[in-house]
Subunit: 418 residues, 2 copies
């Protein structure tokens, strides 16, 4: 099989299917999602069998328990996918909405109308549930999708793709609207990244290496985040009980995700009172602290922070801590080291809260709330397909609306330019 030819044919077929999806009314798109859910139930034994093939190979290859966990499609995972489909079905269809309109002095009626993006390629790693979640979001927004998951999940992804294709066919829609790349060769990714004629957007999700590779090689627009180096700044005069709850939640509730806190910045005036109580709580939960010289003075005997700790995304029970002279110093630290993902301030001061949320240049900026809220569901977008930390098109969590764009529709009665 020539991979380039295969991928080009898939992309061409997706473009054709996308034209049909773009015209598809909401009721039919919802029917597809309902049908995918039904088929996941009906074909669960088969899905489990295919998933077992991936799991057997994963165990053979000695993959970590965490990897195997993410790969597993048990009853709970299947139920979660079915629930996810129900949620997406309940979301309002963004396609066709007029987002702005005006009548020009010459009588032209100009509107901006929301339309699907077209063909979206999703490149991701081991989690097979992404296959269903991403396909459902893209289809609901009227797009076609090409899915390229990791080799560890190939059998699971193939059967899930087959389920989605069957649902599309049953509803009279082209199964090419959701295709899984049948090979996991790196060359399949390279070939995808060159399909500028047929693919409108690439969304890579996974490790920083994969994402950098995609950005380096794509001539198609990419939405992505490399990493989340999220900061909490505890301001002078902050409610320290609140600060403790927020910091503990941001670091410990789920340390392996991109919106977990990686660096704590504390105002010098609060550090002596705040750091010991927070350290006690964090260390009880198994968190290792990496401390700047000043915080090390307050919490002796811990690990000193090195320069490489400030830009680090630990994704683990590790926290870098720095004492700062004031909010300007905190914002300067953030401007230098943040990944533009999520930053929070804990403060009681009106003007500093206002300045922090206005001036910090990250996709989600919070006052008096945990960084863990950078999530499409939590912020009210419904399900999300990922988080973007580059500013074009989407900055922050991407929901249904971010899977669309607008075109200009102009209605006239013979207007010409003079």
């Amino acid at each position: 099989m020539d991979i380039d030819v295969t991928i080009t044919e898939m992309a061409r077929a997706a473009r054709k299917a996308a034209r049909e999806m773009a015209r598809c009314p909401s009721s039919k798109k919802n029917e597809v999602l309902r049908c995918i859910g039904d088929l996941l139930g009906e074909r669960s034994a088969e899905i489990r069998t295919e998933n077992q093939r991936d799991l057997a190979k994963a165990r053979e290859q000695g993959l970590s328990a965490a990897m195997i966990d993410r790969l597993t499609l048990d009853d709970a995972a299947l139920s979660a996918m079915i629930d996810g489909l129900r949620e997406i079905r309940a979301l309002e269809d963004p396609v066709g909405a007029t987002t702005a309109s005006r009548v020009r002095p010459n009588g032209l009626e100009v509107s901006r109308v929301r339309i699907p993006l077209g063909v979206i390629a999703m490149i991701y790693e081991s989690r097979p549930n992404v296959t269903v979640d991403a396909a459902a979001l893209c289809l609901k927004a009227g797009n076609a999708i090409i899915l390229r998951g990791g080799s560890e999940a190939l059998h699971s992804n193939r059967v899930l793709a087959d389920v989605i294709g069957e649902a599309l066919r049953r509803c009279g829609l082209p199964p090419q609207a959701a295709q899984v790349v049948p090979v996991t060769d790196r060359r399949a990714v390279e070939a995808l990244l060159r399909q500028e004629a047929f693919i409108d957007l690439i969304i890579p999700r996974g490790g920083e290496g994969l994402i950098r590779y995609v950005v380096q090689h794509a001539t198609i627009p990419v939405l992505k985040h490399y990493k989340g180096v999220c900061h909490v700044y505890v301001d002078q005069g902050a409610d320290l009980d609140m600060a403790e709850e927020i910091c503990f939640n941001a670091k410990v509730q789920r340390p392996g995700v991109c919106n977990a806190m990686e660096t704590l910045l504390v105002h010098r005036a609060e550090a002596p009172a705040f750091l010991p109580r927070l350290a006690r709580r964090l260390e009880e939960a198994g968190v290792e602290l990496r401390l700047c010289p000043e915080s090390l003075g307050i919490l002796p005997g811990r690990t000193p922070a090195q320069e490489e700790d400030w830009p680090a995304e630990y994704l683990d029970l590790i926290l870098a801590v720095r004492v700062v002279a004031d909010m300007d110093a905190a914002m300067a630290h953030i401007a230098r080291y943040s990944s533009s993902h999520t930053e929070a301030i804990v403060t009681s001061d009106y003007e500093r809260a206002r300045r922090f949320v206005r001036e910090v240049d990250s996709s989600v900026v919070l006052a008096n709330a945990s960084t863990r809220f950078n999530d499409g569901g939590q912020l009210g977008l419904g399900a999300e397909i990922g988080i973007s930390t580059s500013k074009l098109h989407a900055f922050g969590p991407m929901g249904l609306e971010e899977l669309t764009t607008t075109k200009f529709v102009v209605l006239g009665n013979g207007q010409i330019r003079t």
Copy 2:
């Protein structure tokens, strides 16, 4: 001079200046624009002298009259720039607006707030007026800009950059908010395209070759259009007087621009009546017709169209013509050959007008109006910095709002995730 080092330092300085521009109130940004206008007047003699150096070189090198015309900064060109600045000053500042907000069940107040993109690099060819127009739009939207014009305009661009820098300084803002790359070596472009750490967006404007080069080499998001292969479809039952006016305007009023018509599609039922009258008018204006076999039957003795005429952007007094069986055939032709730029239908039929504007997948779709209206000013956006035919972030003409993005601002009172 090491070009990589120079460009990296420029980009780093632009990033720093962008932080200051992002905080700058509208009144001060408008003051900068006013000041640029004043200085263009005060320093006009100097600007003309520098422009003469470029013009002398252009004549020496035997550049075409059209190129020399675009390069010339005479009184009219300077006045036009000053008028443009006044228009941009009058536009509403998009920065800081809340575009959506909701209160979540847990009490979190979530809003999306419009912010500048950050640092924009503009890569363009010979027109020095772009230097001032683009800088004014980017500054008004709170961004910093790096301008890399063509070597033919180097002296003109340098003095214009100096004017803009002086205006920024006079208003207490960093002159690094608008910088002209002082070398026109291709390596300067390559170096710009690698500044992912400091530059948020690249906008190339010029020939397709330049734009493809930028897309190929950039790891930074690019907004662009390669070309405009714009279609007008004259439907069965169309008002043929209206159709004639629209087609004549779309082809002849300014044939060298991207929103001029390049291909005419005519319904079979109207072709015998419509083509002869339109041909008479177009040919009087010097238009060469390239005809499909069926239209050649109606208008014998003209040039037959070849396959390469359908995707061609002539930018000249040439028109490809094809007779089609119905609107579906017209839309299929457009789906195959269009550049997603601008397409128009001339029709009297309600349902076909509705289907055409809904189903044609181009950045501007018109009913009963000339393709020449794909322009930021004409569509009511105010001045435009370019037109995008890729769907991410902006699809169609890009005005002030397209030079911004939104971030999420989340205000809480101690919320954590459970």
